[in-house]
Amino acid sequence: MNTRFGEYGGQYVPEVLVPALMELESEYQRAKKDPAFLKELDGYNVNYGGRETPLYFARRLTERCGGAKIYLKREDLCHGGAHKFNNVMGQALLAKRMGKERLIAETGAGQHGTATAMAAAVLGMKAEIYMGEKDVARQRMNVFRMKLMGAKVHEVRSGSKLLKDAINEAFRDWAASVENTYYLLGTAAGPHPYPTMVRDFQSIIGREIRQQLIVAEGRTPDLLVACVGGGSNAIGTFHPFLDDRNVRMLGAEAAGEGLDTEHHSATLTVGEVGVLQGCKSYLLQDENGMIKEAHSVAPGLDYPGVGPEHSFLKDIKRAEYVGVTDKEALGSFVLLSQVEGIIPALESAHAVHAGMREAAKMSKDQIVVITISGRGDKDLETVFDMGVVQ
């Protein structure tokens, strides 16, 4: 299996984890060709996760933009409320197959942690979730959801006390527990084989889009848009279309308070190549190679790294990446709620903004598909406190 996308990716981990990653790679290779595994995963996707998710023609949003037809891929309707489900279910079943009884995971906003807790519950496994102290404080309800489903939540007090540090802590746990523990990484980053494996599990998004759009419009889209945190929902959306040269791809990163400030998470747009948490990719770092704190109003985008395949797609210009500010994202959060009755996750609101901007420039017979990676219920408190409405 190729461990890299161009120069990006790799396996930059302590030696103690190398055997586990190799075992994971070979087990994953076998599983993905095993019809029994695929059938079991498909069963959970359909009967438990609520797949397939709709591809919804957003008539009013389209009229609003006055350009290309806008379709929304509704990952917000997945069980748990986000695309995180797709990856978690796949990996949890893989863990079970590997005989691991304990799952560990990092979480920022709490979405991946919740999804992991959920998968552990339904499969009868143990889950322990690492979460930065600051995130624990601002995502109280997601912490409670995890505990409710029986997971143990570890508050991480090291470093910036955010997602990045939760990942570090999860790696530290794994280094000590790797024999009986499966590290269920939440995005298409980290050491090989995670970027490939997570992308494969998330590619159900793009595969469904393809089929659904064929039925609805008889053709492939002109533009795919998704938000990029670690990059899993975006790569899941893009990957099945990589060979379709006429399909453009646009990733929306968090420009936070602006690309000219220190407060953003626009790794691909303004970051520089480096190595973090197992892989080589674009990073937010200072001149000495120290990792910077990321910022975004969307907790799921608040990560200074990005999945290596996106770095590759950027370099070869197969996909474009743009920054969307907190303010712009909040604007489309409200707009989509009012125009379509869909409250998107703040993360997804970044994609909505970027997608609308493009659609407005395109002609009426063109088609834009925006992936709504999750629902915004988790963000209501944040947006409420900001006084955006009333």
Partner: protein, 268 residues
Amino acid sequence: MSRIGRAFSNAKAERRTALVCYLMAGVPSMPRSMEMVMACVRGGADVMEIGVPFSDPVADGPVIQEASVKALENGVTPRMVLDLVRELRSRTDVPIVLMGYYNPIFRFGEERYVKECISTGVDGLIVPDLPLHESGSLMKLCRESGLDLVQLSTPLTPDQRAAELANATSGFLYLVTRPGITGGDTGTTPDMERQVRRAHEANNGMPVAAGFGISTPEKVRALRGMGADGVIVGSALVALTLDGSSSADLEKTVATLAEACKGRTGEG
């Protein structure tokens, strides 16, 4: 033979286990770093391992994490660590290994970094998040310029890979006593003996030093008994640089450990 290699063979000749002491550069402060390193040397360190702080020290436990944070707060950069080595070289010949994560090296530029290491007097590198199969270009540069690039091997490493590591490493092989991160209390695994043996079998000339969670003379003696050529003491010493201990305290602790490196084996 490199300065590191010589340190190990000298110790062996004296029937001692070599003592490798780890300190974080810039802790408790940049000026006092020198003093702390020299205390270790006076206490009997055969090799000094000096930590280059990183924002995300994923292989380290709480003590070294805290030291990293402290060093970064003190404004320590890779450049400053190299300067520290340069200064040290005017006072001691002790072999110096820089222990630091890969990204700052990558950012500095592998080639430039290796060159600066050589010119300031660094003897070797340990890069805890750069496993053998990712270290190709750095290893090539190190070989070319005579810098040792130390590989780590763990209890979970399969035999074949352990042999590869023993052959690929230079200076010494870093044997991790147990799965996990630095620091904490290790009941040294009985399996350690087998690990040392398989390393020696794979590359008989290469010294094998055991590290992770070694904090007491008892543990040193136990590892000595298992055939380790060296022991690496990190968190236990770093803790002293964080808790306000004096360099004299540090020297005394190192001396006690050095004493254990000569003693009868098999106890503790």
